[in-house]
Symmetry: C2
Subunit: 237 residues, 2 copies
């Protein structure tokens, strides 16, 4: 089994993903939020790249609507991109969620060519790892990045999944150098994932927006035993 890490999700996917299992990371915060929502009573999350399309889909189908740009809730949207908005579960009859975010939803879409697309984060690292290795396929770890740039929080999340993959795999996987570096990061921050998130540039930006509780949530290693999968247009467990 070969493991490759893509540090910034390419706009148009990557040939590497064909026939492989992809795990997508936007640790702060889209994939952490999706894992939280689907572990708390939401049944489906529809990741949508465009905000207008998200609004239209939610209106037409009667879905809940959530969205974020630049770390802030989109104006007029009832929900943002904080996992804390979803951990208590949906209102009755509102368990399908449309979500559009700055980087994560596009990263998930870019991985759609993979055989299986998993939602990865620190809070579901072990479950994501087990689902990633289940078929013995090659694994592509796809980091969303932030505005096209490398984002430490995503690579750190991938590193925590790698730690669990090494535990779960029958044989030691072959890793490229980017995956190896992510593994080192996770080992370095193993005792304190929150420190890694707080030192990352995106983490510092969110701290500046008063979102420390979100970082604390996203740093809770293996909080949930769920590995959400992309099925066509929606994600579910």
């Amino acid at each position: 089994m070969n493991i490759t890490l893509i540090p910034v999700a390419p706009a148009a996917g990557s040939g590497l993903m064909n026939g492989a299992n992809a795990v997508v990371f936007d640790v702060l915060r889209a994939t952490s939020t999706i894992v939280t929502a689907l572990s708390s009573g939401y049944r489906r999350v529809y990741p949508v790249v465009d905000a207008d399309e998200a609004r239209r889909m939610a209106g037409e189908r009667g879905f809940s609507l959530a969205g974020e740009r630049g770390g802030r809730k989109i104006s007029g949207f009832p929900l943002g991109n904080s996992p804390l908005e979803f951990c208590a579960g949906p209102a009755a009859g509102a368990d399908s969620l449309v979500l559009t975010t700055s980087n994560g939803t596009a990263a998930i879409r870019s991985a759609a060519v993979a055989e299986k697309v998993l939602t990865g984060s620190i809070i579901n690292a072990r479950a994501a790892a087990r689902a990633a290795v289940a078929e013995g396929r090659d694994i592509i770890l796809v980091c969303a990045g932030s505005g096209g740039l490398y984002s430490l929080d995503d690579v750190l999340g991938a590193g925590f999944v790698l730690l669990e993959i090494i535990d779960a795999a029958a044989r030691p996987p072959e890793m490229d150098d980017q995956a190896l570096a992510a593994l080192c990061l996770a080992r370095y921050y193993r005792q304190d994932p929150l420190a890694g998130l707080m030192e990352s540039s995106h983490g510092r930006k969110l701290l500046g927006l008063g979102l420390e509780r979100d970082l604390r949530w996203c740093a809770r290693l293996n909080l949930y035993d769920a590995a959400p999968v992309l099925y066509g247009e929606y994600i579910a467990v």
Copy 2:
């Protein structure tokens, strides 16, 4: 002071380098070899991208000629790219060296737009760090990469220089996430830089070519107190 890490040297340089000090890393092995040669009696190293141009320059000017492609000495060249070929110093009258390598010489050339271009490696990490911070300019850490791909050995070398920069700087520098990840790598491998080089894909390739002694040499932290600088067409201390 801002520090930015470029994980794979761009072919055409980068606007980031204007007005900044650049430190270039091809730890396995070009920059380690250059530091070794210039610490061992060679006066000037001419980094040349093209092998034919290197051969012509050496012939016309009576310089020593060294070159490597794919980890091996170029056919017909008297010297390759192993630091062990240079640590005993030059023959009399042969202290100017023309060097062409797969990735490192192009990376050095790509950084020529910077205010000052330093040669970085694990074996001169402290000296490179002190020279990098001397004028208080922003610092760009330029990793050569390997065939256009991220190469762990180069990022690890940059991390060791970062550790020394933090010691040498008057105030804590601002780092981007790539630099922060390199710093974590160096902290992770601090007690055993050789392990990092041996785990990297390029290191494993060189081990397969029987070059373990080269890896051991390139892992000797702060072996030399020299910070070679690019002056136009040549590098000197």
